[in-house]
Amino acid sequence: MTYIAKPKISHPGLPKNKLGLTLRDYEGTVSTLCAGCGHDSVTAALIQAVFELDVEPHMLAKMSGIGCSSKTPAYFVNQSHGFNSVHGRMPSVTTGANAANRDLMYIGVSGDGDSLSIGVGQFVHAIRRNLNMCYVIENNGVYGLTKGQFSASADIGSLPKKGMPNQQEPIDPVSTALSLGATYIARSFSGDKEQLVPLLKGAILHRGFSLVDVISPCVTFNDHEGSTKSYSHTRQHYNHVVNVDYIHPSEEIKASYAAGEAMPIHLHGGDSIILRKVDGGYDPTSRATAFKYLRERFNAGEITTGLLYVNELRDEMHELMGNTETPLCQVPFEALNPGKEELARLQARYR
């Protein structure tokens, strides 16, 4: 993992956001991933997204597990706290952190090994709780740091660099999340920043669990002929169904869209996103049709991308529990401790 600080040179003319910060202010340390790694593009998209959303750096918490993807929180927003936990356990740490402080924005970055193998239990249970976080899976179908073993997202027939093709059914995070009731589900491609940035912005602002599954090719171990997670395979088989435009609350929703093919979704907190359907028959508000569509396109060998499902109505974890609006870590001790007299009184039951 990197420890080289980026030199702080910025042009005076760099655009600033509403907080007066430039894109450079949202950067982290220098990435030590392989040149051309898809993950670096995802990092760049995340930086772009939080810059454009005017996120206060200290109100963001960056969470991760173990693996190439999990190194990346060091590469963005230096002025945010980061938690690089143990393998497959990022969701539980984020759950606890969020339980203690619901005011922060949580971005978790994970990989297909971290989320679909060792951490699949925590991944599915974070969804069940509708934990309010943006969960990014940088999905490349292989274990990079241990030199190229297949992960659970590898497709049947996909060829490794050496050895036999994969014969096991892949675990698809998108359909898994759909079946578990995740409330914002998107898939994108690290090579398509135009599409990825607004999807991330919507995911960050969504209240509840948002999953962004990003096909992010591993240039060293899984970018060859016969791999289904390579740059060229993804570009050729990528079926884009729903575009997203993010609309700031201060902006009027006036983006032009053809009726029936686009719809505004109002997010909690006043923001909106506009869904712009590329395939007019796709309905991202219906789990059943989304699931059917995804399976059909998958069977046809296509990778469906875009905002695939959204539900702004379901309550997130704190709302489901009926917790106080004040972050629990800020409730004063006096309000938590019933006091001396009450202790004496309540012990009557033990006599």
Partner: protein
Amino acid sequence: MATVNDVVIKIATVNGTGSASANGLLRKSIFRMGVPVVGKNYFPSNIQGLPTWYEIRVTGDGYQARSNRVDVMVAMNAQTYAKDLADVAPGGWLIYDSTWPRSSLLNRDDITIIGIPFSRMCNEQFDGARARILMKNIAYVGSVAALLDIDLDIITALLEETFAEKQKLVASNMKAIRLGYDYVMENFPCPLPMRVEKMDASKGHIVIDGNTAAGLGCMYAGATVGAWYPITPSTSLMDAFRDFCLLYRHDPETDKRTYCIIQAEDELAAIGMVLGANWMGARSFTSTSGPGISLMSEFIGFAYYAEIPAVIFNVQRTGPSTGMPTRTQQCDIVSCAYASHGDTMHVLLFPADPAECFTMAVNAFDLAERLQTPVMVLSDLDIGMNDWMVPELEWDEDYVPDRGKVLRAEDLEKMENFYRYLDVDGDGIPYRTLPGVHPKGAYFTRGSGHTKLGAYTENSDDYQEVVDRLLVKWETTRIMVPEAEIRYSTFNKAAILTLGSGDGACKEALDRLEAQNVGLNYCRVRAFPFTDAVRDFISKHDVIYVVEQNRDAQLRTLLINDIDADQNKLVSLLHYNGMPINAGFVVEAVLAEIAKGRAA
């Protein structure tokens, strides 16, 4: 010769038949007569239909441990009748349900057998299968009350308190009490020569189990996030915390909660949640047992190295593996002290009874935040799930939680730079910041190698500097943990050293040995790492009998490892069959060692 206030009553029933409330009524009524009591559950890992026992030791002397003797057996379970009959001490009594005949082969002429037709009487007087079963239990309380001379007015008062809202139940329960009481009064000479008499020794005391007391301690310590996975025998700890939260942690106007209890998907997630919440600045804890500690170990090592507070209650049960989930042991001492791979050491607290579960719960949060490390409270099934008489719990209104070295926004504002792992004060404890407070406080929490500045490293010197500083913190820990309980006299060259739930049996054994002119000093360690007082205590004796409830002498191992105790002095007395230790075991084991030529 009459024996007063020194009797052991054991009740054999079938689990799932509602006998727990009847047994509680009996135990409470004796306690209300001012007489100290000990209540122990011996129950199966099962929901319904298997044998279960409740043992009430009436002890005018106020001893805390179980006795290894049964004076009055209430044998309500035909399945275990033969064993229950055999367990009665010579000269004792056995009560059975004479509705059905017992085989004459199952007889003893050295005890008195009392047949009472509980089923017949209850079938005649009550309707419905459920009511008949429940009332049969209440009826034996009435019979024991008559035999031991327990005050019926106190039983009536207790029933009125229990069923304050349901007067009909008071009447029906009293009817069942009278059935058992009157039958015995009419047919047998009452009371027995072994009986209960009012005294004034339970005043200022309560009877409570350790899990309830620990849950109450967490409430008083200001814990807000509890994350856990159900496991016997720790489940009732989080249940108790939830019950207290329902009473005290709901906004009266909005009904919103100031607590968050999460039933995790497993123990790996439970401890992850605890770390996340503590990292964020909330007081957060989990409750578990040995198998849960095994699963949590990776994260416990993470918390040690990344220096995150965490409070973990381990209510120990019999291992290894699944072991006997409803039996007690102190078998996780070593696995907790060194949980996780790599060089790790953890702070352990050893409560001896429910009162210490309460106080140590509060200690644990203070130490965890002060030291920025996991603190494990090692209770056990005996403490956690049994009924102990302890002094009433008290709260110091001047208590202020020790949140440790946490920099506030105004502190950070004044600083040029913040670095996470610098030993600014020389005590090995660095300063930390909480997320959401100030951009200058940001740092990257990691379990990978890091420098004192908090940066990733693969540099040998930088790595070693941090792990060596953790040793400085360990020595600071040693002077902060609760001091051992020590009874010392220069006359004695030998001593007993124990921990946790061994306390009651050892103190009772000291009295009995004293009566046989065997004088021993006493040390009960209350925490790991061991304090200097423990080191001195060991050095002042020729022989230390180390009494603990595991097979492998784990406390002894820790003494040798942590403070270099002379292993030749440390003689292990080990009790590990799953039943709570009793004084008789300690007395016999010490006398056997003396007979072998050990110093007394």
